[in-house]
């Protein structure tokens, strides 16, 4: 299985490659990709440098253009596909059907990967994308249980990549409009969820409050550690009880599932986190490289080492990890 790591910057890209990524993915410095953060991502010069660095070391580079262009953005998004093509990337990660169609017709020889934002959760949906745009690979949304992944994998007409580690989207990706409901930006339209521009922190007598466009997302008591106010991970009131009504702030970690994922024929595991620091990327990439190498060396004997588990827990939201939807009981 291939290890696919995030690159939010050139140092992160180099770190990922140096620590064992088989492939890295990046986006341009605008809202054409789903991690639009200030100071993050690549201009053409940096991208070219990163691609050369990766290629010299035998790693591949994917370019994510996985937001949804509206008519007035069409030329910009199409231009991003052209830029990726001229940079010589190894694949373009796309979600929008119109853009997939453009890429398939204009650049048939550049492999197309379906982004997780394309919301393909069944082999029929994968066949739709395969038949219409000849995609080579698809990234599965983080909503399927392992049994359901098995079902999809059995009939999939394309390679599959699954999320292995990082922030956990609990909603079917590509069809979550919660962020644009509270703010004016969503992953689909602007490549942003719970955008930083809308976040405010206030120290109050009741505790530290995090707000998103003035909506109270969470309030932290003494000794509680505060996290970024991603709106689905706040504490809300439902029928008189206050709790994490949608999801706790935890990270996805599927180390335990590696043997099963390999057995299902999954082609690649993906690390989330283009917004993370190079130091974070180094630790995560190194840990997963070791795990994948162990899996290859001793098939049937794979166990998760305490060392890996501790490293990844330390890098997780709230220090907690979950198998997420892969584990049926989580639902």
């Amino acid at each position: 299985m291939e290890l696919v790591c995030p690159a939010g910057s050139l140092p992160a890209l180099k770190t990922a490659v140096d620590n064992g990524a088989n492939a890295v993915y990046f986006g341009f410095r605008d809202s054409t990709n789903a991690r639009q953060f200030a100071g993050l991502n690549f201009n053409d010069k940096r991208a070219a440098e990163g691609i050369e660095y990766a290629h010299r070391r035998g790693a591949r580079v994917f370019c994510a253009i996985n937001t949804y262009p509206q008519p007035d953005g069409w030329e910009q998004w199409k231009g991003a596909v052209d830029r990726a093509a001229s940079l010589g990337v190894d694949a373009i990660i796309l979600a929008d059907m119109g853009l997939l169609d453009y890429a398939a017709n204009r650049y048939p020889d550049i492999p197309r990967h379906l982004s997780v934002q394309g919301s393909a959760t069944s082999h029929e949906a994968l066949s739709f994308y395969k038949d219409n745009f000849d995609i080579r690979r698809a990234v599965l949304p983080r909503v399927l249980s392992l049994d359901q992944v098995r079902g999809v994998a059995k009939h999939s007409p394309v390679e599959l990549e699954v999320f292995a580690f990082g922030s956990l989207c609990i909603m079917a990706e590509g069809r979550c409009y919660l962020s644009s409901y509270l703010t004016d930006e969503s992953p689909n339209t602007r490549g942003a969820c719970s955008p930083a521009k809308a976040v405010r922190w206030h120290e109050t007598p009741q505790g530290l409050e995090s707000r998103l466009n003035d909506v109270l997302i969470d309030r932290y008591g003494q000794g509680e550690s505060a996290g970024y106010p991603t709106l689905c991970k706040g504490r809300f009131e439902v029928e008189g009880s206050v709790y994490h009504a949608i999801e706790e702030p935890v990270s996805l970690n599927t180390l335990d599932l590696l043997p099963e994922l390999q057995e299902l024929g999954i082609s690649a595991v993906k690390i989330e986190g283009r917004q993370r620091s190079p130091a974070y990327i180094a630790d995560v990439a190194r840990t997963w490289r070791q795990a994948l190498d162990n899996l290859d060396r001793t098939p049937g004997m794979f166990t998760v080492e305490d060392d890996w588990r501790n490293t990844l827990s330390g890098l997780s939201e709230g220090g907690l990890t979950t198998l997420g939807a892969y584990h049926r009981k989580w639902k």
Binding site: Y68, Q148, Y181, L182
Partner: protein
């Protein structure tokens, strides 16, 4: 005159409640009725054949009927239900996922896309037109500016693909594999005791300052405020919107339909307030603002 449609029931109601609702709806001035389960695979008060029987009854009453499909497809059982819906030639299908587009086009069944299909540009509409698209819903997070560009773009391409706009009700905003209703009751999803039946218009999720943010409805999350574009009807007509969608609620729906009908006929001013069930109104998305905003 613009058409009025009743979207699929997004909540979980008992079989009798559903039958009673549509018995009344047969008499309402709606042109199109979407039938079927679009949210949760565990909601099986009505079997596919029950839906088809209901569809034939409503068709006999002069309604155009479209069979809706599940939005989040997760299992082989979900796909079997989808194939069952597409294995007929009496009714149009509402495709709410690419799985449905694939199956419908294989069966050569014409389809309409629901608001959860990501149609953000004309190139996407052209792709779907080749598969048998007969009409499409604007994604809920898009507003009038984008809609106008899309309609004009279709005209330039010479494509006659009528646009439908979700104009009244709680906005469907997200789908998860997790069931938030079961989570609230500390029940596993696979043994949820069908608690959604106790919440015919969802469960309110409020901030700790009592701001109504969302409505939890099984695996789906809807807006906490009710989207209301009634006063935009004249503008939509000018733009060339063909159908306006009203999302079913178990109380007050008849008055909603009546009022939208009066407005589309120009019998009452679009600005007359419509005050029904308790929930704040919103219309932000239409103006390119946060969806929860109310622009007056």
């Amino acid at each position: 005159m613009m058409k009025l449609s009743l979207g699929p029931i997004l909540w979980f109601w008992s079989k009798q409640t559903v039958f009673d609702f549509y018995a009344r709806a047969a008499e309402w001035p709606v042109d199109t009725i979407y039938l079927g389960e679009a949210v949760c695979s565990r909601r099986r008060e009505l079997k596919p054949d029950d839906w088809f029987d209901l569809a034939r009854d409503l068709k006999a009453c002069g309604k155009e009927v479209v069979i809706s499909t599940q939005t989040l497809i997760e299992s082989e059982a979900d796909l079997r239900r989808l194939r069952r819906i597409c294995d007929q030639n009496e009714f149009l299908v509402e495709a709410n996922d690419q799985s449905a587009v694939q199956v419908a086009s294989r069966h050569q069944i014409p389809f309409i896309t629901g608001p959860s299909m990501n149609i953000y540009n004309v190139a996407t509409l052209k792709v779907l037109a080749k598969q048998g698209l007969k009409g499409w819903n604007l994604p809920v997070e898009l507003g009038k500016e984008t809609l106008e560009q899309l309609i004009n773009g279709l005209k330039q391409e010479g494509l006659a693909l009528p646009a439908e706009v979700f104009a009244w009700g709680f906005l469907p905003l997200a789908w998860s594999s997790r069931c938030f209703t079961a989570r609230h009751y500390n029940l596993p999803k696979d043994n949820c005791e069908f608690r959604c039946l106790q919440h015919p218009d969802g469960m309110e999720l409020r901030s700790r300052e009592s701001q109504e943010l969302f409505r939890l409805n099984g695996i789906s999350t809807l807006s906490g405020s009710r989207y209301d574009l009634m006063r935009e009807l004249p503008e939509m007509e000018r733009m060339g919107v063909k159908t306006v969608r009203l999302s079913p609620e178990h109380q007050g729906m008849e008055e909603v339909v009546e009022r939208f009908d009066q407005v589309r006929r120009g019998e009452v001013p679009a600005t007359d307030p419509l005050q029904l069930v308790q929930a704040p109104p919103c219309n932000g998305y239409w103006y390119g603002k946060p969806g929860m905003d109310l622009i007056r």
